[in-house]
Amino acid sequence: MRTFRPAGWRGTAACAVLYGFAFLTMAAAAPGARAQDWFRTGTGLGVNKPKVAVADFVSRNDTSTSLAALFGDVVRNDLDFSGVVEVASKSFYPTQVPSVPMELNYQAWSDPPTSAQFLAFGNLTVTGTSEEIQAWFNDVKNPSAPPVVGQVYRGDANEEQTRRFAHQFADEIIARLSGGIPGVAATQISFVSTRSGNKEIWAMDYDGANEHQLTSLHSIALTPRWSPDADRIAFTCYPTAGSILSAQICVYSTVSSRLLNWPRYRGTNSSPAWSPDGTKIMFMSSMLGNPELFISEADGSRPKRLTHSTGADTSAAWNPKTGQQVAFVSDRGGTPQLYIMDADGSEVQKVELTDKGYVIDPAWSPNGQLLAFSWRRPSGNYDLYVMDIATHALVELTRDAGRNERPSWAPDGRHMVFESTRTGTRQIWSMLADGTEVRQLTTQGQNESPNWSPK
């Protein structure tokens, strides 16, 4: 007999050793457990937009006062129209305006009445003919956080360049706050205007500034459509062949500012639509008699007929997400209605709506989930609607405000441009895709058929 202790003791001792080991391993594992950053967030009923203030940009010389004011105004306007943030009212801003981050009084901006979560500020210096803009976008609720955006812009000291820099800065902010969807402040809108006497293709910034004429064909130009890389515009033109006008497809290069060669076909050819990869153009043509949809290469070669019906088929709109579905207008059932088919012409389906009337101008949203169109119901005028493709749920965007037609989506899927006669003349308007924030972009002459550039 060597020992005389009960058997339980041995177990207790073993337990103690085991616990010791466990403590040691846990202590060693603790740094590993926090080697991964994380955060918790969520969503419920609606989206809370962060509140943003845009301080007046400080001008460092007397000559730059107007440019600094312009820069701040354009940034404020861009953010206000972005639909991503809420811009705090300027009248509540603190009197002290920072020009560099050292001067920023965080609390003055984050406390009521401004209550801003973010602040855009900076300064502008003009030396000779060039300008330098320093712009920051800071989280004023977190003084320890680094600036969200810090940029220096250098360029010619003129209004156009300052505007462009302001759009770039606003786009930078919007891209950060929207989670990866770039802003549209640097995009363009092409449209048809009569202000030069004929219907020509024009283009302008997305906020209506910088309107300029692109074509001068002295006949009729209609339905401009940007190519996906935004360096060409396809449209319907009416070149004179002898004494008769016949509608053809024309393509204008915004890079070389001239028309590109595009073949002419018999009959009427109109309403071009680019495929999302930019390699094909779908258009309406009566080259074989009846107006049908044709698809060709981007240079117009190898046209191929896609639709076969007794009525006319026109106004094609590709699904930009997949490039495999096309919405178009056909009167094969008696009145113009929406149809959807595969991009090779198969699987034609009518889009059933809850009411009668004319349905025209389909425009597919960039994420491929929504289809906007204008619809004249028997009870009213042409109004814009948005339909969820999956559920066919409808949202009416305009009502009792003249004719509203030809919607075109912005590349961010949040904005839309359209033509409306609500002021008496036909003008271009833009709005958020839920029908709010309606803004008039053009005022001179008659303007119609807007198309938002894809970038």
């Binding site: 955060f39 419920g44 003084p143 220096v152």
Partner: protein, 261 residues
């Protein structure tokens, strides 16, 4: 009458003595228990004798695999040579061959790979390796942190895993929230449903903004809500790339969805 508090000194001393006795005896017993009895050693005390079992009633044991030579069949070459097999007579082939159709019919449906879930942005050729990037050292972004006149907070830098991502980059959290919210569509939820408990989905955001490891952490109890939540996150892929100033490789997110119509 006052209660005499029993002192802790005595019991502690006893406990110390007893514990040392315990560990001492443990050590002694360990040494003692290994002394003397070599298992299987000579002396016979612990030896184990093993006997081969020839056969046991009712337990069929496999036959021993011994190789016995067959006296009839032998692999060595014999005296007799087998004749070669006669060749089958060739039938003259006078049939005309089936003509090959030059224009073969295309299959009617060509399934194309889905573009919805694929990562649209391959890593660029000039991608900066992890740890060597970051914002350039220029004066306009080097200061300003904690420089506010009224706030004493200074710079707080943690290495990877500082744990304060939400505090330092609250704009990024805002961006993720708004992006996912805008992709959470009411139409993807069962229309009969008016309300559902909270669903929690976890995922990782990689350096380039790609979303990975999407999984349901806590189900809402309704499959359509769970699926729509997953879909909202998948369709937000890729997100904004992680902030330049952030040194880490990826960020984990817990995202909750409260459905109410």
């Amino acid at each position: 009458m006052t209660m005499q508090q029993p002192g802790l000194k005595g019991p502690l001393l006893w406990s110390l003595i007893l514990h040392s006795a315990l560990f001492g005896s443990l050590a002694v017993s360990t040494i003692m228990s290994h002394r003397g009895d070599l298992w299987g050693g000579p002396g016979g005390g612990g030896a184990v004798s093993v006997k081969l079992v020839g056969g046991m009633a009712g337990v069929p044991l496999p036959r021993p695999e011994s190789v016995t030579t067959n006296r009839v069949v032998d692999e060595s070459k014999g005296l007799y040579k087998s004749e070669p097999k006669p060749k089958p007579q060739e039938i003259p082939n006078d049939a005309t061959p089936i003509p090959k159709f030059t224009k073969e019919k295309q299959p009617r449906y060509v399934t194309r790979p889905s573009k919805t879930l694929e990562d649209p942005t391959p890593p660029p050729q000039n991608a900066v390796p992890y740890g060597q990037g970051g914002s350039p050292a220029v004066p306009y972004s080097q200061f300003g942190m904690g420089a506010g006149a009224s706030t004493p907070a200074g710079m707080q830098f943690g290495g990877p895993g500082g744990g304060d991502f939400g505090g330092r980059f609250s704009w990024y959290v805002t961006a993720v929230t708004s992006r996912v919210s805008s992709n959470w569509l009411e139409s993807t939820v069962d229309p009969a449903l008016r309300w559902a408990p909270r669903a929690v989905v976890s995922f990782d955001i990689l350096r380039n903004g790609a979303v990975a490891n999407v999984q349901i952490l806590q189900s809402s109890g309704n499959a359509s809500v769970d699926a729509s939540a997953m879909r909202a996150i998948q369709s937000s892929n890729p997100m904004q790339p992680l902030p330049n100033e952030y040194p880490g490789n990826k960020v984990s997110v817990e995202f909750w969805f409260d459905f109410r119509r």
